[in-house]
């Protein structure tokens, strides 16, 4: 431990000094003027009819990054499922007296809250996904919001309801469809005689959800993949609970 701290102290000193030396060459915060961003701010509304430039960058100009990002999520959900999967030879369920099944909350208030909260999160999530090209938000943010809906159900009702609404086969399929869908939309560009990930749909008036062509659909696939991915992740982490309650 002592050697480790000495090593780290030396390393941190050097790293800090190097970072300091580099930061002195940075433009002052607030005074940045890089060409890339400025050009994009100027051209993307006109070219892609997307008023949210960040979405245009994510789903069009740098759409390949987002493809990679979606598969990072895909791979790690697969990885988490692999790591925490039950393998042969694991002890089967034993009745644990120390651990009691969680009852559905008795309080009506909680249930009513759930009844209100679920449609609210779902519609908010869907709105966010579909309006990614127009306003802040998009497939990723909306997908995470969507993923909280089954969680609310889990908290307000029972695990059975949770499993009925988001059964493992469905989340798995949705995740794959979302991730694969992004690739398929990318291929559409090639099929239409253009380049991979190029827009193939007509553009509308800037400001409407459907006006920016494929960006909407790419947002949708990301939304599906992210929502399913996060539900799957959370479900794996609460899996033991689910197994015992059902």
């Amino acid at each position: 431990m002592r050697l480790r701290l000495v090593l780290f102290a030396a390393g941190a000193l050097g790293l800090g000094a190097a970072y300091f030396a580099a930061a002195r060459g940075l433009p002052p915060v607030g005074g940045y003027s890089g060409a890339y961003g400025e050009v994009l701010n100027a051209v993307s509304v006109g070219e892609r009819h997307a008023t949210d430039v960040v979405s245009a960058v994510n789903f069009d100009y740098r759409g390949l990054d987002t493809l990679g990002e979606e598969f990072i999520l895909f791979a790690s959900v697969l990885g988490v499922a692999t790591i925490l999967r039950k393998q042969q030879g694991d002890e089967e369920d034993r009745d644990e007296p120390a651990w009691q099944a969680r009852q559905a909350p008795d309080s009506d208030a909680v249930r009513v809250l759930g009844v209100w909260l679920v449609p609210l999160t779902v519609s908010f999530g869907l709105y966010m996904i579909s309006h990614g090209a127009v306003s802040p938000g998009g497939g990723f943010q909306g997908g995470v919001v969507l993923a909280t809906a089954p969680l609310v159900i889990y908290l307000c009702a029972t695990a059975k309801t949770f499993l009925r609404i988001a059964p493992p086969w469905l989340t798995k399929a949705a995740e794959a469809i979302g991730a694969g869908g992004y690739v398929v939309i990318g291929c559409l560009g090639v099929l239409a005689g253009k380049q991979f990930l190029e827009n193939v749909l007509p553009l509308g008036t800037p400001g409407a959800a459907w006006s920016s062509g494929t960006i909407l659909f790419l947002n949708l696939t990301v939304g599906i993949a992210v929502a399913a991915g996060f539900v799957e992740l959370l479900a794996i982490f609460i899996e033991e609970v689910l197994r015992r309650e059902t």
């Binding site: 607030g30 940045y32 890339y36 100027a42 990002e69 999520l73 988490v80």
Partner: protein
């Protein structure tokens, strides 16, 4: 104030980077270590945010703003979005590993684990 703000974000990013590394080096608990890694990662958000910021500019969303209004850099924001996903997925993977390693070995201390592995 503005003169401090011209370099403070860079300093905060470096500070978080070093604290994150320190936490990982010092950690005796895998969950603690993973959270320190999250702090290390967040230093890159701060750096990217500081780099792309323009004083007095608006967000790069032209829904109710005329085109040509000075806006902050959209590229760094796109990079940060990717960065956040990476953070979440890496944390999920590592947490799964930590849970599983505890179930198998009964410890979260990296030192103990090395000993157990033999």
């Amino acid at each position: 104030m503005s003169s401090i703000l011209a370099w403070l974000p860079y300093a905060v990013a470096g500070w978080l980077l070093l604290w994150g590394l320190y936490g990982i080096v010092k950690s005796r608990n895998l969950v603690h270590l993973i959270i320190c890694l999250v702090i290390l990662q967040s230093s890159t958000y701060v750096l990217l945010l500081a780099i792309g910021y323009k004083a007095g500019a608006v967000a790069p969303v032209f829904a109710d703003m005329p085109l040509g209004t000075p806006a902050v850099d959209p590229v760094v924001q796109a990079l940060m979005l990717t960065d956040i996903v990476v953070e979440a997925t890496v944390a999920a993977l590592l947490l799964a590993l930590a849970v599983q390693v505890y179930q198998r070995a009964g410890s979260l201390d990296p030192r103990e684990l090395v000993r157990l592995e033999g």
